[in-house]
């Protein structure tokens, strides 16, 4: 139970980090920032934007990292639901989550979904999805060898 709470807390932090990147670096025309702008007549949004106004943030952090954080949180949540066990059913749902991420990006390429396709987005999303899965596989192997 304690582990679950820790993981849930981590997921909240990961998602908050993604939202934070959007809030400080993207224009107010994005839906997410429009909602953020509603908070305190834009004061919350401006407060965060002012924090990093003179800081140079690399392009991949602005445009690709939020996608990777989104994917990481989604994979971790699916793993949490399936008790961090890798079996036929859990793998199916993890694969579904990864597919959603890939389809989102490909749909942008095909202009089905608004947005700009970016290979770096795709690579970072894959890395983010495979990170928690790899940790579980590694843990399973260590457990077996012990």
């Amino acid at each position: 139970m304690k582990n679950r709470i820790v993981v849930l807390f981590l997921i909240v932090i990961i998602l908050s980090a993604g939202i934070f990147i959007y809030a400080i670096t993207r224009s107010e025309s994005i839906y997410l920032n429009q909602w953020m702008a509603e908070l305190g007549n834009g004061k919350v949004l401006y407060f965060f934007q002012a924090l990093v106004q003179n800081v140079h943030i690399p392009h991949w952090i602005i445009y690709s990292l939020p996608d990777a954080l989104w994917m990481l949180a989604l994979t971790m949540l699916i793993l949490l639901i399936w008790d961090f066990k890798l079996h036929r059913k859990s793998i199916l749902w993890i694969a579904m989550a990864i597919m959603v991420g890939i389809l989102f990006e490909i749909s942008q390429r095909l202009h089905i979904v608004h947005g700009t396709f970016d290979v770096i987005d795709l690579i970072l999303m894959m890395m983010a999805a495979l990170l928690p899965v790899s940790i579980i596989i590694l843990k399973m192997r260590l457990w077996k060898t012990n």
């Binding site: 224009s27 025309s29 401006y46 407060f47 934007q49 002012a50 639901i81 008790d83």
Partner: protein, 167 residues
């Protein structure tokens, strides 16, 4: 947890995350610096060559008064249809650039760029203003999209005074 319940939660979580994904999109269909093609507009039009111009007035979000001598940047993306409507669909060629500027004592700035050639109703220009943070004011943003025949941008960008941030 029962497997059925886990399946239900998995679907729910994926659904919520899809909504999250859509929340990161702009209503005009643009992400980064491009706007999604509106295929319903895609039709050949008479060739027009017009200069691209932008004007900005930077005001205080609370009082509406102009903010003098603020630095900002104008980003623009010219999207021109290169392939006419047909089985291959309508396709864009993209050219993007930006211009740094400082507003005058009345919080205004205007500039005209070399001519833009348009020959399709789906041709568009996406213009975005980003006003820098000053010692007194927070940053300001504004975004406009102009389609064929309209190459003038008029921005009324607002910034909030830092002292008002905590009131």
């Amino acid at each position: 947890m029962e497997n059925k319940l886990k399946t239900f939660f998995s679907i729910l979580i994926i659904g919520i995350f899809i909504l999250f994904g859509f929340a990161s999109i702009e209503p005009d269909g643009s992400t980064n610096t491009t706007v999604e093609m509106d295929t319903s507009r895609c039709m050949t039009m008479p060739l027009i060559i017009t200069p691209l111009s932008f004007s900005v007035i930077h005001r205080d979000r609370k009082t509406g008064l102009p903010i003098p001598f603020a630095k900002g940047e104008f980003f623009y993306t010219i999207q021109v249809v290169t392939m006419p409507p047909g089985p291959e669909g309508c396709k864009y060629d993209i050219k993007a650039d930006h211009k740094s500027f400082t507003t005058d004592s009345l919080g205004r700035f205007s500039e005209t760029f070399p001519s833009v050639t348009q020959a399709n109703a789906a041709d568009l220009i996406r213009g975005e203003i980003k006003m820098d943070e000053t010692a007194t004011y927070g940053p300001g943003y504004d975004l406009l999209v102009n389609y064929y025949g309209s190459t003038d941008f008029y921005f009324q960008t607002l910034s909030l005074k830092k002292s008002d941030l905590y009131n």
